[in-house]
């Protein structure tokens, strides 16, 4: 278990909900930098970024792992307008994650200049993992 009090003092807007550290969109870069650089935490691996479509907003969950502490942390943030801050300058592995989320959820990552479709074809319309995605696409073979 990580010590949340220190984080709370430094980032007053964060809350600890369930098992996630919840922060706002603007703090995400500085919070992740803090969690990585601070020797007390040193979360050196970003195992993945999970996006969840909650209809009115998209939740982004950053899953961190610290090899020295052998513990995980989940940092969560909401985006209401499909725009988020890129974290590729902190964790290089985030590039593919961000491309995947752009591809499947249509979230733009500010600071990631090379966003591209990763899994779907380049000329695909729409973002399939959104709840509002129309499943009656004629290109989807299982519809007949």
């Amino acid at each position: 278990m990580i010590d949340f009090e220190t984080i709370k003092n430094k980032f007053p807007y964060t809350e600890y909900v369930d098992w996630k550290i919840r922060t706002n969109e603007n703090d995400i870069v500085s919070l992740l930098t803090f969690l990585k650089e601070n020797s007390e935490y040193s979360f050196d691996i970003l195992t993945s970024i999970i996006a969840v479509d909650l209809n009115d907003k998209i939740e982004l969950i950053y899953q961190l792992y610290s090899t020295s502490l052998n513990t995980t942390a989940q940092v969560s943030t909401y985006t209401f307008n499909s725009n988020a801050k890129s974290v590729i300058n902190i964790y290089k592995s985030a590039y593919f994650d961000e491309c995947e989320i752009y591809d499947l959820f249509g979230v733009y990552f500010d600071g990631n200049s090379n966003l591209k479709r990763l899994l779907m074809p380049e000329n695909w319309l729409g973002h399939p993992l959104l709840k509002s995605y129309e499943m009656k696409d004629e290109r989807l073979v299982w519809n007949d």
Partner: protein, 366 residues
């Protein structure tokens, strides 16, 4: 620098073990840059989950990575079990771990055969497939399938193991170390193999961590990170094993880690068989899988698969269908790291290095 040339490798290429396209820029024979293009095997596994019940989705998860189906089932099932607060009987956990370790063995054996084949040696493939076959038959005997097992179920496993079946495994674990010695006699000190693998594709500790590399590839770079040991999930904390670690980080180190891991697998398998022979018990918590009530909640499982960390994130909104399922697989990040590790090498090293990472494309594209 002379004018560079762009050549396209794949998507249909025998050494990519799936469909991966590498857009390669060459200066003579030297690699200037590599751009991996993925998505050819995208089957929408995450989207499919949202229109199926928890039970209907279960047979599909084996297909995330067809070579290690048990790991995928385990990751998905434990996530759901944790949301539902289902306690799994100890015997079932032991059977699960036994199946997973046998699965790791078959996965590594297939990697061994095909990797040496990539390097141009044909015969080791037949040895490794010969030794993989008994395990596949054992899987067939237990689950009815050689691959895509669909054997784990919410709360436990479908069928109990028999004494005869366990005896066959013991026989296998007794014979296998000598065969692994044979492999090593042919390969490990072979001068051609050494020239092609030593000091090739060096993955430093920092690069590996930066790119979120896990599993055998990270352990070959000198980081002792094995989630079986670190988290001790399931019953791994009751077992006695020590994950092998190498420090060189080159292609040869990754080979050595996997060979050593196969020996470790055999010891873990033997410990599981010992327990199962001497203890009886339930193999499944009484759960109605068809009318499974999953309360609201979310959970992420951490599983050490043969290709690194496997995460399955399940979010439930209280209905009978998952709200969101997300797979995090080791190969996805290995493909991302490819340009870094290939830079500066020769054209003919591409497959030697790529093969040593043991990337499986279905789990990249999902």
């Amino acid at each position: 620098m002379t004018e560079t040339m762009k050549i396209n490798i794949g998507p249909q290429h025998p050494s990519t073990h799936g469909v991966l396209r590498l857009v390669t820029e060459l200066d003579g024979e030297d690699i200037v840059s590599v751009t991996p293009v993925i998505g050819y095997l995208h089957r929408g596994l995450e989207k499919s989950a949202e229109s199926r019940t928890y039970l209907q989705y279960l047979p599909m998860v084996d297909r995330v990575d067809y070579l290690s189906g048990f790991f995928n089932s385990y990751a998905y099932i434990t996530a759901v079990e944790n949301i539902c607060n289902i306690d799994v009987p100890k015997r079932a956990e032991y059977i699960r771990v036994l199946c997973m370790e046998m699965n790791r063995m078959t996965s590594h054996l297939l990697w061994f055969g095909t990797y040496i084949l990539d390097l141009g040696a044909t015969s080791p493939l037949f040895y490794s497939f010969r030794d993989r076959e008994p395990l596949m038959s054992l899987f067939e005997e237990l689950t009815g399938q050689r691959m895509m097992y669909n054997y784990f179920t919410f709360g436990g496993v479908r069928f109990d193991v028999t004494k005869e079946w366990l005896d066959k495994i013991l026989k296998y674990t007794d014979e296998m170390p000598a065969k692994l010695d044979d492999y090593e006699k042919i390969i490990t000190s072979n001068p051609i193999f050494l020239t092609r693998t030593k000091n090739k594709g060096i993955l430093s500790k920092n690069t590996a961590l930066k790119y979120s590399i896990t599993g055998p590839c990270l352990r070959a770079s000198g980081v002792n990170l094995d989630f079986r040991k670190k988290f001790g999930y399931s019953i791994y904390n009751e077992l006695d094993f020590e994950p092998p670690v190498e420090t060189d980080g080159d292609t040869f180190a990754r080979y050595k880690v996997r060979i050593a891991e196969m020996r470790m697998c055999l010891s873990v398998i033997r410990q599981c068989v010992d327990y199962l022979k001497n203890n009886s018990g339930e193999i499944s918590a009484k759960v109605n899988s068809v009318a499974l009530k999953v309360p609201e909640g979310e959970y992420t499982t951490y599983v050490e698969s043969p290709r690194g960390l496997l995460n399955c994130y399940v979010k439930s909104d209280g209905t009978n269908k998952p709200y969101r399922v997300k797979w995090r697989t080791g190969s996805f990040y290995l493909v991302q790291m490819l340009p870094e590790i290939l830079k500066g090498h020769s054209m003919h090293d591409i497959m030697a290095i790529f093969g040593s990472l043991d990337v499986i494309l279905p789990e990249v594209d999902r």
